[in-house]
Amino acid sequence: MPELGRAALIVCLGLSAYAVVAGGLAAHHRRRRLAVSAQNALVASFAAAAVAAGVLVAGLVRHDFSLAYVADHTSRKLPTAYTISAFWGGQEGSLLLWLLVLTGFSAAAVFLNRRATRDLLAWVVPVLGTVGAFFAFLLVAVSSPFVTQVAPADGAGLNPSLQNPYMVAHPPLLYLGFVGLTVPFAFAMAALLARRADERWIVATRRWTLAAWGFLGIGQLLGAHWAYVEVGWGGYFAWDPVENAALMPWLAATAFLHSVMIQERKGMLKVWNMLLVILAFCLSLFGTFLTRSGVVNSIHSFTQSAIGPWFLGFICAITAGSLALLFLRLPLLRSKTRLESLVSREATFLYNNLLLVALCLTILWGVTYPILSEAVRGEAVTVGRPYYDFFLRVFGLPLLLLMGIGPLVAWRRASLRGLRRMLALPVAVALVVGAALLVLGSGSSRPGLVAYTFSAFVLASIGLEFLRGARARRDTAGESWPAALAALVNRNRRRYGGYVVHASVVLLAIGVAGSSAYQTIREAKLRPGESMQAAGYTLTYRSLSTRPVENRQEVRALVDLRRGDRLVARVEPGKNRYFAEDQVSNEMAIHTSWLRAEDVNVIADQVNPDGSVYFKVLVKPLVNLIWAAGFVFLGGALIAFWPDAREERRLVARYSRAGALPAEA
């Protein structure tokens, strides 16, 4: 029923446009019924987007190839899970997913704040409606998923690299992150439009920001793991423009999550926080633009399309409009307090912010430079990996160090003597670890050695924080160590949840340094029976086999992996040939050695007709710490996210008894 889908999108566009106009008028003229009516329109737009999404899912499941989108992205032999995930495998479906998540979040934001922050909500509705109307317009007029055609006998199938379990979860998680950043942006703009300089917009969106940031983080790690196991080049992050597209808003949101704590404690950085919210949201739009416009040549940009100019225009309008509004409201946002000392927790947060934003803007420049170069000079200049790696070291290593120093510095101002005392043990641990690694031969990579040494420093610092806090509780309350630790974390969730997230970043840094700075790469062309060496492993190519499986033909090279005389594993790297898609994918074989904490990746780069195979072998130490970091990150984010009844009571007391309308935490 494509007509129903089309009609639902038109209704969604109408409702979003009504939310913008009616919501704006209601907020400006302070009309209650009109404001509620606009809120209802926003809620109803979610229902309309859900109907459109339901129609597309039904078309996919029923293999309704009269829908061009279904025919272009699925085939009859495509497994059901991937048939459904084809919803976000193409441009039109991705935009519909954006709209569905956005209207869903908008309805949730309206529902959760319907009695709280009512004066702000009146302005939130038109802002959310504007973004929703834009995406609905794209789907109605520019890139519809409900274009019909004479149904072919079978579809073109799904890009083979998307036929992976990770791709079922990775794009929706990223979209939850991208779209989630719309809510803090809408509340920030509403606060400016309503001339409210207080912190209710921060309180109302604290968890939205944390959730969006968490989704983006987990989504990126899933994407990295997908690239590692599926794309078949042995890496996990290639500074691809679309990977950068997700990283940039995450960095901006990370900076915001830190700096907003300064505003909540000292009332400082109000303008800076607004700028970061605008930056994070505009970068999330820019990320979608990069992913879906085809403007940058990337494996993710599967198609060129007409949405590019519309997207670019919208991003420019949103950026210019929000910055102009911020400029007009500058007098409202003046801070009464100032930074007291350059050696204080606030100052370390500020340094952290500057480094994060610098890294973010450096990446943005690397992504946009080829586009600008092509537009101005007519030739695209590629910004390669060395550029990004250089700036990752320049900004990333100091960031890592700050994660260790920050927790040890007191708020307001710290004495140098006290700081020296606090730093003594972590510095000693770092020096011992660094010296030990140097002796063990890790000096072959200077950045790797520095990263490991800094990581040891940060882990020692975080460990000490937990230890000192738990000991203080234990000394005074006589609690057991586990009880003291649990109480400490429970009563300071944001702080200790944040430390757990820091620990995950350290694990990530160790994993990245180990798997990139200390990896071994060997290549050789082998005939059956021949062997090659890599980092103490002997690989012997045994035979080649071919077998048909569901929608593809699999070619596999049988390889024995030995260490000394012992057979460690038998792996099968190879290639898949997909019939409907008429494409070939590289299928890397991975052997994980838990004892040696490393992965051995075997790639059959080229399979020749004479049976010889060109193998590429990568031995990556500590790479699995990157995936372990994902679980630790999730744990830390959940601790920080978990509602704190004590904090909520305090906020209700603040807002209700101070005479203002209450805000929900």
């Binding site: 207080d198 101002r413 004495s415 203080a472 603040r654």
Partner: protein, 186 residues
């Protein structure tokens, strides 16, 4: 096709009804009753002061934790705590509306506004040990010491409930201590 159009039409009508619901429910609402509530200038000022007070109390809470974990020396703690207590007191004093002619402040249920950071262990720390840390004499309005004289440890401090408006208002607004130390905690 026809079924799809009928469903689409029904859905559109349902959406219109839902959007028009506020007007259908109260078609003859007077403009005054149709006005969106918003905080006035006094409310906004009160909110600003409440945030300033909470900033000071949050800073006290952090200072307490930093002191107890060794990041802040006793001398620094005393100086900073005194300053923060003064800031909280100023915000509290401004939040307390004065009664003309009585020359003193009317108490409002402030305890409820400030009690939360100050529960035993609100910082993750239980009631503190007695401390010899010197501190400045509290300024007006009275702010209790961060480390009150110790009760018999480790008796837990009573959880201060939001105080109802008393019949006899106290002379000065009372800010509960950052870390109540025992039964005599405010």
């Amino acid at each position: 096709m026809l079924l799809a159009l009928l469903l689409a039409g029904a859905f559109a009508v349902a959406c219109v009804l839902f959007v028009a619901r506020p007007f259908l429910r109260d078609p003859l609402l007077s403009p005054d009753r149709d006005r969106l509530a918003e905080p006035g200038p006094l409310d906004r000022r009160a909110l600003e002061l409440a945030e300033e007070r909470d900033h000071a109390l949050a800073a006290l809470k952090e200072l307490e934790l930093d002191h107890r974990t060794g990041k802040v020396s006793d001398e620094d703690y005393a100086g900073l705590a005194g300053q923060l207590r003064r800031e909280a007191a100023e915000a509290l004093g401004a939040l307390e509306p004065r009664v003309p002619g009585r020359g003193r402040q009317v108490s409002v249920p402030l305890a409820g506004m400030v009690e939360l950071p100050d529960q035993p262990g609100a910082t993750g720390m239980p009631a503190p040990e007695p401390s010899p840390a010197p501190h400045e004499p509290p300024q007006q309005p009275q702010i209790p010491e961060p480390y009150p004289p110790p009760a018999t440890p480790p008796a837990p401090a009573p959880v201060p409930e939001p105080t109802p408006v008393p019949h006899e208002p106290p002379q000065q607004p009372q800010v509960p201590e950052p870390m109540p130390g025992g039964p005599q905690a405010v």
